[in-house]
């Protein structure tokens, strides 16, 4: 799994951090998403897929 972000799309909802806190964080100043681990281990994959799916700004892309 490889994750990419479109930070310009990010609306700072923070849903990804709630779902997958080991993979995503938010910048302190404006809440924009920060990628902690672009290639997370298998046990994180389900959470990452969910984070990508529910991101209200469609800012997270997951590549196989």
């Amino acid at each position: 799994m490889n994750i990419t972000l479109d930070a310009d799309k990010c609306c700072a909802a923070g849903q990804c951090v709630l779902v997958a806190p080991e993979v995503f964080d938010q910048r302190d100043e404006d809440g924009i998403v920060v990628l902690l681990d672009a290639q997370p281990p298998a046990e994180q994959h389900a959470a990452v897929h969910e984070a990508a799916a529910i991101c209200p700004a469609a800012a997270i892309q997951v590549h196989a």
Binding site: K9, C11, A13, G14, V17, G31, I54, P56, A58
Partner: protein, 415 residues
Amino acid sequence: MTVGRIAVVGASAAGLAAVEALRRGGWTGALTLIGDEPHLPYDRPPLSKQLLSGDWQADRLGLRTAGQLDTLDLDLRLGTRATALDTVTRTVTLADGQRLECAGVIVATGVRARTLPGLAGTAGIHTLRTLDDALGLQTWLSGASGAPRRLVVAGNGVLGCEAAAVARELGHEVTLVGRDPLPMGRLVGDGTGALLADAHERHGVRMLTGSLDGVKTADGHVTGVRLADGTALEADTVLLAIGSEPAVDWLRADAALDTSDGLRCDEYCAAAPGIYAAGDVARWYHPGHGRHLRIEHRMNATEQAMAAARNLLAELGATEDERRPFTPVPYFWSDQYGMKLQAYGVLAGADRAETVLLDKEQRQVAALYGRDGLATGVLAAGLPPRQIRGLRAVIATPGPWDEAHARLLAAVGGQ
């Protein structure tokens, strides 16, 4: 067992999330996605923001590439309208008369922009719901003449306020007309509404309280508007942001469905056996709030579609899962002049709202909303992300007002 067909009607965020969740959930049967617009599924929130401002081109709004959609093996029907649903036989009828017999149906037809009668064909009158709507308005806003022109925005809800902010930042003369004295006031209450009014005023938006009574035209082009109190305003372009109507006309013929204010569903998002709904069109029973809710927010479209898909597969016996009630913590955001509002829970229908103004200059605010003695929603602007995530916990489950209020103050360090 996964036989037959599932039809998902509506190809926007909810419809797309539904077909993806159905495939992820193991549905290997036929899967039809029906959309009345000609475009591949795209994202709507940027329409009133990045697309309208000209920062983004339309191709950036696509939710999936054609290649990604191919992997779903869809029977994709774009530019196609569903005209009827028979809930007994689970048959969807299309505008061309085709009838699709289905094992299950997910209704995700969203809402339509409300308009005023008699304006069809009048140049300069816009709504802002679809990509084509947004491109039409954007073309005007980016007008080649370069001179600021006069825009009247009718409606001061979220959409009207966002569009007014973008148009003003592009240098147009903007008048924002709304029934509520404060921008978004009916949704966010007086405290936050006053903060928004201040922002619009500082940027030079003229705000009027009133409602549109009609438009003046010359040679088929709008030249101004009349308000109900007799006020006349000159305008080169008018944006109607006066609310929306659930797209349920096509469902009305089936007496088994309740289509008053959206398609009424139970806590599983089911409207009838094998018939589910998701997104802006769905009015479902939220057990945590103890009432039916219909939520026109982007995140709900996806979350509810995933829940509806899961529950439909469970009902059809296509998975081992049990059906589960859909009990989300709703979320919405709005951007105006670099100011971001974020809200969790339910603000609409509140009988009580209290705003804690933390710093007026920095536009830092937190607000609590409640109904029947319970706190149901919270809103924040200008707060650090950790604090905002903490506020979500305050109302994740509706609880006693006083308790939530104390937790809100503790979270934001207010008095």
